[in-house]
Amino acid sequence: MDMKVNKKLGLKERYNLMTRDLAWTPTYQAVKDVFPYTEYEGIKIHDWDKFEDPFRMTMDSYWKYQAEKERKLYAIIDAFTQNNGHLGVTDARYINTLKLFLTGVSPLEYMAHRGFAHVGRQYPGAGPRVACLMQSLDEIRHAQTQIHSLSNYNKHYNGFQNWRHQHDRVWYLSVPKSFFDDAVSAGPFEFIVAIGFAFEYVLTNLLFVPFISGAAYNGDMGAMAFGFSAQSDESRHMTLGLEVIKFILEQDPDNLPIVQAWLDKWFWRGYRVLTLVAMMMDYMLPKRVMSWKEAWEIYAEQNGTALFNDLARYGIKVPKGWEQACKDKDHLSHQAWNVFYNYGAAAPFHTWAPSEKDMEWLSAKYPDTFDKYYRPVWEHYAKEQAEGRRFYNGTLPMLCQVCQVPMFFTEPDDPTKIAYRESEYKGMKYHCCSDCCKHIFDNEPEKYAQSWLPVHQIYQGNCFPADVDPSKPDFNPLAEVLRWYKITQGQDNMDFADSPDKKNFEAWRAQATSN
């Protein structure tokens, strides 16, 4: 027997034998029973073997490299914990970004894990199946490394302790939750265009790169470690997203309009979730690497344009909401932070008005808009607060039926006018924040009529603890909602200036510098 013929299989050939050659077309069971979910979306796939594997990694290398990453990451986390690294961050305000991250983003990593397991089971093509399952495995990694990295913060600061409970209940967390629920409840092709492409490829750079770079800049080696380590898997995921979309488009010309509609939808859904990132970058980081606007220009405008130029050969156009998103870059973070300043009593993290120094930076980064539109309100809040009247909004906001963000977004060409869009479905009015969200609603009203809108749920009486009697005269609905959210009044919420977090951080830091 000639053993030598085997020796030099190339990477691609070897990988083929290790993955798609393992698969076969079932004959004892019908293909449509084994893979029942592949037809109903209308996507036509003629030859799954045409899929180009993005990174050709077999399980043994996967275990090897991922274990190495994990060892490094946990070594950093351990060292950071042992050295009280949390006291080395610029300022305790920074820690609020981590609360937002754990309550808002980490649960999505977990959803991605389950979602990719689902499509990794359902695609009839072996190539994408394997890539999706590897991604599923990576995503549980991200959820867990975040839970573990932030575990030590949870021991010392408030607002992390009820992340699971709050993600499924608190008003603004329905924004990221509904985003991912929307994707996973869609068909397997829409899911991968939504998450693998529109979110991972077009948008996650905006979430991870500036934010994590910002964590490093603010002295948080723990968050930097999990962030960059997660991001190293992300490049595999982004590539999978890009390869899948090219593959679908190459398979049949009828796929183009379906994919384009999904891109329009999911670019916008993802962009709306990034609202939280915009304000995190401009308002929540004590030291900032770059503004939201700059990050948008680098990662969305420059890189996105390159990407869509590349995809133009398939007939793909820049997503519908692109132009509006680019116009919003001067306004988004300022308007968003005002929402959280308004409702700072109902969120499990702290808010604050920017300091004079912060405003100088904002004014320099946003020369056309900050002083004109946004400085007055922050100065007003600061004055009110100095006089003992810190402004909290006590009435619940109207939410967009699709993105579920309070309806603060303004008209694309008039930053002073809040945008209202109305639809009617089965005799009931539905309201959206923008043309794009309305378009999404109008396309699939059966879906969005199901939305669990936090404000409506509160008014329906579904957000009080079980022991509450609303008929009692001393019933205080908002206090009871906070109890149901498991937000401890005065501890987890309200202005940073009066928070136990601030007091503790200062006291602990003082201990480090004197006896």
Binding site: P376, M398, Y430
Partner: protein, 118 residues
């Protein structure tokens, strides 16, 4: 277009009026984004428009320095974006305001903090 699904996909609408103590009303004050978004609150259909203005709005908007300066006689009202003239003695229902109606008001001359529309 409709949802593409593998089986019938019809569910009860989550927010039908019967589930609320009263129909929901959305209300926004133009040029005053200090209140970051329009409000949402259940309002009985039998409530007089005047009660809404005198009874409910101060609690919602009183924190803004412009609120005390409003000349209600000059206020401009919109329902689903279209102008209308409310009758303070008529009920919300009589104005055709129902579940999930959205009304807005503009207060000419008042454009927020330093004219910033906040």
């Amino acid at each position: 277009m409709a949802v593409k699904s593998i089986a019938p996909y019809e569910f009860e609408q989550k927010d039908t009026v019967d589930k609320f103590p009263a129909p929901l009303l959305y209300i926004g004050w133009e040029d005053h984004k200090m209140f970051c978004a329009p409000f949402c609150a259940p309002m009985p259909p039998t409530m007089k428009f005047g009660e809404l203005v005198k009874g409910a709005l101060p609690g919602m908007y009183g924190a803004h320095p412009d609120f005390a300066r409003i000349d209600w006689a000059k206020a401009e009202w919109f329902m689903s974006g279209k102008p209308f003239t409310p009758d303070m003695d008529k009920t919300l229902a009589e104005h055709g305001i129902g579940h999930k109606s959205v009304i807005r008001f503009r207060t000419p001359g008042l454009t927020g903090l330093s004219g910033s529309c906040f």
